[in-house]
């Protein structure tokens, strides 16, 4: 240790991480590009029964499943006869810190306390910061949250300002940074200086915490509808929400349930750009995370990411910012629930997808999030207007992220855009070879089997992709 320059700290990344996680990822590494994913999840994770017990201690989970009857009726009015699935939403806003992220934080904080860490650190501009702070308080741990908050003009994104306030309300130290991926450097340095636990979103603990969400919603749908959910919609960003939910569904035996990821389309906006930072009205749940984290999960702040969405995703769709704001307004006005907006990304996609499904089918949107000052559609759209974004009613297909936000003129204009999963799968395969510095021709059979598991396809798909490279 000692040197604090950017390159010196980054060079110590692995040793800092090992100490800050109490986990040796080397144990799970295999030859070639392989690693033992299930082994890692089992060894470092907890069983669903253990997680439920941990979460009961800190009041996480057992959130209500609410049927959105009016929104379903609106979808049915637009659908063909006999079409229009029942839409349910899991009201995750009723977790202690106001989002499903409490599930992720609960297991990390439990583990950190068990291992004798004095505090926890998380790098997050989202709801996860508040979740970590809240869970850490119940486990008597100190918290530091590292946020990317403001641009070079010193202007903070209102939603992130609110999340920072919430962390401070829980008694956290909040480090608020300007735009840039070197936030990771500050994060590493702070881990090293404090010896605190890295409450990363992407450890097996974080993912195990979400498994209860998939498990619970299956139990609730079975009790209410006498069947398994036909589809579950998940807002997709870093991949943890999707991975954990899918694993929970599988553990509950809901093997025929389709898992659909949805992200807000922010194509064209650069995630590391100072100029673009305050031109987006969604700070998470968007394609700027959703696509890169699907095609290369190991870009995360841990050596191996436990969130691996391509293993589980059956379909991936995008929706525009204006459509999410429309449905957020609809949720308040038709269902009497003020939630989101970012957490309503999957709900917006659900409104369109329900129209493709039969009336007797059940579609579950697996989260809501709290709303508040800064973190509200009025706050976000007022801020967007002040930043020169053109906001109007119209056809959402005319949207240009960073230039305009188009609120659908009619509800029938709400539609999802498909992202071709095979393209993402091929991109993942290319990335895996590139990052492991392996030529396609030198892969062993076990590597090919591993890749097939990673992208949830058969071996012939992998071989065909390799030939195309």
């Amino acid at each position: 240790m000692t040197g604090k320059s950017y390159s010196e700290v980054m060079a110590r990344k692995n040793s800092i991480m090992k100490k800050a996680l109490g986990l040796d990822y080397e144990e799970f590494e295999g030859k070639g590009l392989r690693f033992d994913y299930e082994g890692m999840m089992e060894k470092a994770g907890y069983s669903i029964e253990e997680v439920r017990k941990i979460q009961q201690e800190t009041n996480v989970g057992n959130t209500p499943l609410i049927e959105l009857r009016n929104l379903t009726a609106a979808a049915r009015a637009l659908a063909a006869p006999g079409k229009g699935a029942r839409i349910f939403v899991k009201d995750e806003a009723s977790n202690p810190s106001g989002s499903f992220k409490a599930r992720r934080a609960s297991v990390s904080c439990y583990y950190a306390a068990e291992k004798g860490y004095k505090g926890v650190i998380a790098a997050t501009s989202g709801n996860y910061g508040a979740a970590v702070a809240s869970q850490a308080n119940m486990r008597n741990l100190k918290t530091i949250i590292v946020q990317e908050l403001f641009d070079s003009r010193g202007i903070g994104q209102p939603e992130i300002l609110e999340k920072g306030r919430k962390c401070e309300a829980y008694g956290s130290e909040v480090l608020q940074l300007t735009v840039g991926p070197e936030l990771f450097y500050t994060f590493l340095l702070t881990l090293e200086e404090t010896g605190y636990f890295n409450a990363s979103l992407y450890t097996p603990f974080g993912i195990a915490g979400i498994e209860t969400l998939g498990y619970e919603l299956t139990e609730q749908v079975r009790a209410r509808c006498g069947k398994d959910p036909d589809a579950v919609l998940v807002t997709h960003a870093g991949g943890g929400n999707l991975t954990g939910t899918a694993r929970g569904l599988a553990k509950a035996g809901a093997t025929d349930t389709k898992l659909i990821g949805a992200s807000v389309d922010l194509t064209g906006l650069h995630m590391a750009s100072d100029n673009d930072f305050n031109r987006k009205s969604f700070t998470t749940g968007h394609t700027g995370f959703g696509v890169p984290f699907a095609t290369w999960p190991d870009r995360a702040d841990v050596p191996r990411n436990a969130a691996r969405p391509l293993r589980y995703m059956d379909r991936y769709v995008t929706i525009s910012q204006g459509e999410v704001f429309y449905i957020t307004e609809a949720l308040a006005q038709l269902e009497g629930m003020e939630r989101g907006p970012a957490g309503n990304t999957s709900l917006t996609a659900a409104f369109a997808i329900a129209q493709e499904m039969d009336e007797d089918e059940v579609l579950v949107v697996q989260e809501t999030e709290y709303t508040g000052a800064g973190k509200h559609l009025t706050a976000q759209l007022t801020f967007a207007r002040e930043n020169g974004i053109d906001i109007r009613r119209g056809d959402p297909s005319d949207q240009v992220p960073g230039k305009n936000i188009i609120i659908p003129e009619k509800a029938s204009m709400i539609s999802v855009k498909e992202i071709e999963l095979d393209k993402l799968r091929k991109s993942y395969i290319r990335n895996s070879l590139k990052h492991n510095d392996i030529e396609p021709g030198t892969l062993e059979d076990e590597d090919i089997e591993f890749l097939a598991e990673e992208v949830s396809k058969d071996i012939s798909f992998i071989n065909k992709t390799l030939k195309e490279m």
């Binding site: 320059s5 950017y6 009016n70 009726a73 609106a74 009015a77 505090g119 100190k142 918290t143 530091i144 908050l149 403001f150 070079s152 209102p158 300002l161 609110e162 401070e168 008694g171 130290e173 909040v174 480090l175 608020q176 940074l177 300007t178 735009v179 840039g180 991926p181 070197e182 450097y185 500050t186 404090t194 650069h270 590391a272 750009s273 100072d274 100029n275 704001f325 429309y326 307004e329 609809a330 308040a332 006005q333 038709l334 000052a373 800064g374 509200h376 559609l377 009025t378 706050a379 976000q380 759209l381 007022t382 801020f383 906001i391 109007r392 009613r393 609120i407 009619k410 509800a411 029938s412």
Partner: protein
């Protein structure tokens, strides 16, 4: 007029430069790379000082950090903004859709 002295122990905000513009990571867009990476953090002021001074603070969890004093107990200014006229009618439009079974 002499600048206002802020007493030790006051809840304040400091700013530090984490990386100078020239020391930032490679592969960043130019609009980001041309600015320093800055950080804000709040804590109790260690010694009497005035805005602009380099000071040490003790954060809420007891860490000591150094930086330029930029504010005394800064307010949370984020709010709900204004009503959005483009969205106000959405409820009525959807109720009409449900009642009529089709869009106007």
């Amino acid at each position: 007029m002499a600048a206002k002295k802020i007493p030790a122990g006051t809840w304040v905000q400091i700013e530090t430069v984490v990386l100078e513009a020239g020391n930032r990571a490679e592969h960043l867009p130019e609009d980001t790379k041309s600015h320093p990476l800055q950080m804000w953090v709040k804590g109790y002021l260690g010694e009497e000082a005035q805005i602009g001074d380099i000071v040490t603070i003790e954060t809420i969890i007891g860490r000591h950090l150094q930086g330029k004093l930029i504010a005394e107990n800064p307010p949370y200014k984020h709010n709900f903004g204004r009503a959005i006229p483009e969205l106000l009618s959405v409820g009525a439009e959807l109720r009409n859709l449900i009642r009529m079974g089709e869009e106007k």
